[in-house]
């Protein structure tokens, strides 16, 4: 907060009013609605509903499809975050070293930020199209019996590959500016002490990038949780048999396609709790553990 502030009765309310108004109508109201609906059970025709306490939650938590989706979401998110962070860090270290063409490389690697997740999903969908997809043909000609339409692992591979492809440029931007923020004198001193570029990276550069890496880890996990919806919806649609449906995708499928409002709301509330825990964790724990 500022040391010097205005003391005015009406003006601050005037300034904050538009945001609070929009948040109340389009955030607080639906969020409250989700919590309320998660305690209701609707009949098959949506005509009447009754209050059932925690039954929806019990149903969700004990259902095999939800726990499968939860397990998939965790594995998927961790893999997407770790792989895309590793690839972008590798590229950023190299891009930071080159002198000739540095700007062109930066442009060529960062533009992917602007690609919409569903567009990435469609591009992946087309590369793996059994009729004409180059990657589909390539994998099969190498002797893998690749079939992402029926095999759950292959389908997961496709979704992960697309999600990583889409996320590399964001991570690259952050790593590159992190690397460029390391003082030249530190790098030169390290070069004098240690000839091996690889050891120099692990002992000097990587620890200095720790805050960026942690920050990106959180960003990437959030991305894999929520923003991959578009990728999944246009590539696998959660198939085969819900094997590649993340929790967010399942909320949508159950709520809008399955019209199970109570169950879907209960899933939303569970997701809210998970995200809140993640956020608190991010603010309390990570901030303290990583020294700048």
């Amino acid at each position: 907060m500022k040391r010097v502030q205005f003391e005015h009765s009406a003006v601050p309310y005037l300034f904050i009013a538009p945001q609070i108004l929009i948040i109340s109508i389009f955030f607080l109201w639906p969020a409250a609605q989700a919590v309320y609906q998660s305690f209701l059970l609707e009949d098959a025709f949506g005509m009447s509903s009754q209050f059932v306490w925690f039954r929806n939650f019990e149903d969700v938590l004990s259902s095999a499809s939800w726990s499968r989706s939860a397990i998939f979401t965790v594995i998927f998110s961790v893999l997407v975050a770790v792989i895309s962070i590793a690839i972008s860090l590798f590229l950023a270290v190299r891009a930071d070293e080159v002198i000739r063409g540095a700007k062109s490389y930066r442009t060529l690697l960062m533009w992917g930020y602007a690609i919409a997740p569903p567009v990435a999903g469609l591009l992946g969908n087309m590369m793996f199209n059994p009729l004409m997809g180059d990657l589909y043909k390539a994998f099969n000609s190498f002797g893998f019996e690749f079939n992402h339409i029926q095999n759950a692992n292959d389908a997961a591979f496709v979704v992960i590959l697309i999600a990583v492809w889409k996320q590399v440029s964001v991570n690259f931007i952050f790593f590159l500016s992190g690397l460029q923020g390391i003082p030249k004198s530190v790098q030169e001193a390290a070069t004098l002490d240690c000839k091996s570029a690889e050891r120099r990276f692990w002992t000097i550069t990587f620890p200095l990038l720790a805050p960026t890496t942690f920050f990106l880890l959180v960003i990437n996990l959030t991305y894999a949780f929520f923003e991959t919806f578009g990728i999944i919806d246009v590539s696998t649609k959660g198939s085969p048999g819900g094997a590649t449906a993340t929790l967010v995708y399942k909320v949508y499928v159950d709520g809008f396609i399955g019209a199970d409002l109570g169950g879907s709301s209960a899933q939303s509330v569970l997701l809210m709790i998970m995200v809140s825990v993640l956020t608190v964790f991010q603010f309390r724990f990570i901030e303290r553990k990583v020294h700048y």
Partner: protein, 284 residues
Amino acid sequence: MYQSKWRIFTNHTILILGALFMIMPVWIAFASSTHTREFIFQNGLQFWPGGHMIDNYGAILFDPSATKGRVTALEMLFNSMVLGLGFAIGKVIISMMAAYAIVYFRFKLAVPLFWVIFSTLLLPLEVRIVPSYEVVANLGMLNTYTGLILPLIASATGTFFFRQFYRSVPDELLEAARLDGAGPIRFFIDILVPLSVTMIAAIFIIMFVVGWNQYLWPLLMTTDDQLYTIVIGIKQVYNSLYEGGQIPQFPKAFALTIMATIPPVLVVVIFQRMFIKGLVETEK
């Protein structure tokens, strides 16, 4: 700094491979969008562009039947533009104002209101999608630009960016302004807004891209073709690819994909410096 020849060579090799990894899918989509559908159907995806670029893109842009609906790609591009600009403008104005109130004023409800704004970070739209849809439907806002844009603005990211920025503005400015007799509104318009121009531009660019690329919300909201954004339009075209027993219109679907990608990519590449500065400085 000393670099061995071998290191320089591997650096360039790795970066070129990385760039190819990023570009290749988009390039293949572009090259394939310039052939006839019969050709693509028989020969698969193409690496080299063909001679039907103008036919395919022209049909998509101006002929509603090519996009399998009542709207042309041109109208979809317009809708995307409205969404991107509306989202960016709304977000910048609303969050600038809210952040100003939070940072520069001492008022009773400051703390609770701050927490209300903060709570939106906990709950992305994707999670409360079903009730949000119901609220917008109750307000009669389905298939309107307002219903499309406003719920997306109800999150606090922009407010936090501006809050960070205002806190880095020296206190002396406010003291000086007050000595000169400037009131709060005067200070905001004449001093703070001009100071924030680069920040506003950076956030505007980021928000434009985010708005343009929205998917789930427009997908639920717009049941009327007339409001389809281009990202939604692609999905509809891909969904109808295998309908009707005809040869699938892959080239036109690819053309639509390319057209959805070009505007945000151009914005990001042209304003690269500003965009990277905004992204890196605000999210820390």
